[in-house]
């Protein structure tokens, strides 16, 4: 029985439990729901929860634990002599798994029977070619020991799966029976359901937090690894970025960090005024008809894929800036430039700022507007002196979100600003950002132990620290200048 089917079976038991539990609760109450502490639906839910939750939890744990147990049993069967020179136990075990899977496929296709497999010996039969016949490719010739290990692996897996199915179904039935037996008119099934929902929510937030933690930790570990191979002061204070394939690279973050900040700053310089002013217009001045058309239209900008923005930068904006600004001003002749990427990225993040700011401005109580207008203030005075201070936290939040998008953006930078790591103040020169270099260091044929590859993690961590710092600063600004309304 495979896992999907098992989960389905558990759910069927749970649903059956739900229906039976519901009916049983009504029976215990002599058909009058006023005698029940909880509505029949809650009794059903409680049976459902007791049937499904422990069984599914068991299946999850089992699926995580079974491979570990089986791997350790089987890998002890592999002798050191079975490992070809230059290979590792891990690679041999990968072969073992593949052969085991191949035998499963062969049986499923009817190319082999169970009896044939039992009698098969790797030193007599060419296992590799037999498996190739059913479409499974094995890296090297199969030795008898490896083949035995594969058969053992397959057998243990089979036993494990059956055991898991039996245990899971038994637990589901036991849980359902237990919960069913507890149903009485006074049983507080409603509270059980409440507890289960709370547990589900806690579980979800735990998953989110642990994932974040996991990502940060993996970055930190790889970064530490990188700094063992490459001195930290060179990474932070070297002004050149020049990775080489044969070692001796210069991996200074400064030109990349400069490029990132420069491009993001340009983008925000475009997006913040446009976004904020259009938000104020939409929230305070526009009639509801204009608003109902304009707001979704602006939000449409957020739905355009970044690759399309990239094309726009590459084909339209870049050459235009070069022909009309950079060349006449004598600032260079590159169509890839910080300005190109910044402008296009700025357009991309306008909706983040305008839409969110519009929402927070709308949330400022109408009483504040009335108070200001009633004193003879104009609309723009009201906006400037009352509404913006009150909406400040939300607006800063919107700008931060836009900044994070800009800092993390890759595609527009590659197509608009190029991939040359340079340190320059000329906005019409090609530069590049941290994210672009992370991509270029990790793509292609690279060895995962060289500083040239691992630098990507250090770059990623630096980016993370930069955005985190930005958030902290913004939080401080908001605390200091906010005018709070209840």
């Amino acid at each position: 029985m495979n896992t999907g089917l098992l989960v389905l079976a558990v759910l069927v038991i749970a649903i059956a439990g739900f229906i039976l539990g519901r009916r049983h609760s009504l029976v215990t109450a002599n058909g009058d729901i006023r005698n029940l502490h909880s509505l029949p639906g809650y009794h059903g839910q409680s049976v459902f929860i007791f049937a499904a939750a422990p069984a599914l939890l068991l299946v999850c744990v089992w699926l995580l634990a079974q491979p570990l147990v089986i791997e350790s049993r089987v890998s002890s069967m592999i002798e050191p002599s079975d490992i070809p020179s230059g290979s590792t136990l891990g690679l041999v075990m990968a072969d073992v798994r593949r052969i085991s899977d191949g035998l499963d496929v062969a049986v499923a296709q009817g190319a082999l029977t169970e009896a044939q497999i039992d009698n098969m010996r790797a030193d007599l039969t060419d296992v590799r070619s037999r498996l190739a016949d059913v479409g499974i490719a094995v890296g090297s010739n199969v030795s008898q020991n490896v083949f035995l290990a594969a058969k053992e692996f397959r057998a243990l897996n089979g036993i494990g799966r059956i055991a898991m199915a039996i245990a899971g179904l038994a637990l589901a039935l036991a849980g359902a029976a237990f919960a069913y037996s507890r149903i009485t008119p006074r049983y507080r099934a409603r509270n059980v359901s409440e507890g289960a929902i709370k547990a589900l929510m806690i579980l979800s937030s735990t998953v989110a937090i642990l994932t974040t933690l996991g990502i940060v930790l993996s970055l930190v570990f790889e970064t530490v690894h990188f700094f063992r191979l490459y001195p930290a002061q060179n990474f932070f204070f070297n002004f050149t970025w020049n990775p080489q394939f044969r070692g001796g690279s210069d991996l200074g973050i400064i030109p990349l960090l400069w490029g990132t900040l420069y491009v993001s700053f340009t983008a925000l310089a475009v997006a913040v005024p446009i976004g904020l002013l259009s938000a104020i217009y939409l929230a305070e001045y526009a009639s509801s008809t204009v608003r109902s058309v304009a707001k979704p239209t602006i939000e449409l900008l957020a739905g355009i894929p970044t690759i399309v923005y990239g094309l726009f930068a590459l084909i339209t904006v870049g050459p235009m800036l070069r022909d009309y600004f950079a060349q006449p001003l004598g600032l260079g002749s590159s169509s890839s430039s910080v300005m190109t990427a910044g402008l296009v990225m700025g357009i991309m993040v306008i909706p983040f700022i305008s839409s969110l700011s519009d929402d927070v401005i709308n949330a400022v109580p109408q009483a504040m507007r009335d108070g200001s207008l009633g004193l003879g203030a104009t609309r723009s005075e009201t906006v400037k002196k009352v509404i913006l201070p009150a909406a400040l936290p939300g607006i800063v939040g919107a700008i931060l979100l836009a900044a994070s998008r800009a800092i993390g953006e890759t595609m527009i930078v590659v197509m608009g600003a190029g991939a040359a790591a340079k340190l320059s103040v000329n906005p019409f020169e090609a530069m590049t950002t941290i994210t672009v270099k992370i991509v270029s260091q990790l793509t292609g044929d690279t060895e995962f132990a060289s500083p040239e590859t691992l630098v990507a993690f250090a770059l990623g961590l630096s980016l993370f620290v930069v955005t985190l710092g930005l958030n902290v600063v913004a939080l401080y600004v908001v605390r200091k200048y906010r005018e709070q309304y209840e």
Binding site: G371, G374, L375, G376, E483
Partner: protein
């Protein structure tokens, strides 16, 4: 509609005048109708607001008294679907004329709202808000004088003199409302509109605000919307009774409460409906 029916409607809309019109008329309104979209909220209201006296607007909820009040400084302009017809004059000047600057009008006709709505700024900045935007103070000390005298007029100065730079939102409800009144009088308006200024306050704070209104009468024309008939009787000199968008009866407060002419006014005042 037949002629007889029209006559009847006409009669129904006719305002009963119990007593003479005010001696000095500050604001003069004729045939004021207000529409929210297609729905008419006020029908041909004729009412005169006397100078340096308190006019109370009473009537059951939804009768149009707040709507009328908001016509007097054109706060209804902020509502998209609202349309006002008829004539409203301030000192003989039509306030809906194109030549009128609505911002200037609102500086002359100030407003205090139902719920205290101080800005989340310091007490000082709350009061200084109006003088600052209108450029009423020539210097910093001028501004301080205006703030202090406004707070004194609002009877709040003694309670807050040592914490002028703390947020206005930290005051109690009654103090907040008096701060809003101080904020309104700092602009030195001619008329002050009050939309149920005590409905969110406890009896003690209410008494203080009422006392204040009585003092302010010396210098300002005041129009107050209230649900409390005792309050109208206590603070006002003239009372106008609205019902279903019609100004039913207007006259001296004393006459209105002791000897109302219209049956509807009598029913409302004696608590038979509303």
């Amino acid at each position: 509609m037949s002629v007889a029916e029209a006559e009847k409607t006409r009669e129904r809309w006719q305002t009963v005048m119990s007593g003479p019109a005010p001696e000095h008329i500050k604001m003069h309104t004729r045939d004021v109708c207000v529409f929210y979209g297609a729905k008419q909220a006020l029908f041909d209201v004729d009412l005169d607001i006397g100078e340096r006296e308190v006019t109370a607007l009473i009537g059951p909820s939804g009768c149009g008294k707040s709507t009328y009040l908001r016509c007097l400084n054109r706060m209804n302009d902020t509502i998209d679907i609202c349309r006002v017809t008829g004539k409203i004059e301030l000192e003989g000047e039509d306030i809906y004329a194109p030549s009128i600057d609505v911002v200037e009008l609102r500086a002359r006709v100030g407003m205090v709202f139902q719920k205290p709505n101080p800005f989340a700024k310091s007490i000082f900045d709350n009061v200084a808000y109006g003088p600052r935007i209108h450029g009423l103070a020539g210097s910093k000390s001028d501004l301080e004088d205006i703030v202090v005298s406004s707070l004194k007029k609002a009877g709040l100065y003694n309670e807050v003199s040592d914490r002028l730079h703390e947020p206005g939102t930290g005051l109690s409800g009654g103090q907040q409302q008096r701060l809003c009144i101080a904020r309104a009088i700092a602009v030195n308006p001619e008329v002050i509109l009050m939309d149920e200024p005590c409905s969110a306050l406890d009896p003690i704070a209410t008494a203080k605000v009422e006392e204040l209104i009585d003092e302010l009468r010396e210098n300002y024309s005041i129009v107050i919307v209230t649900h409390s008939m005792q309050q109208a009787a206590r603070v006002s000199q003239r009372t106008a009774f609205f019902h279903l968008g019609i100004l039913v009866e207007v006259g001296d407060t004393d006459r209105m409460f002791t000897n109302p002419q219209d049956q509807r006014t009598q029913d409302y005042i004696t608590g038979r409906f509303g």
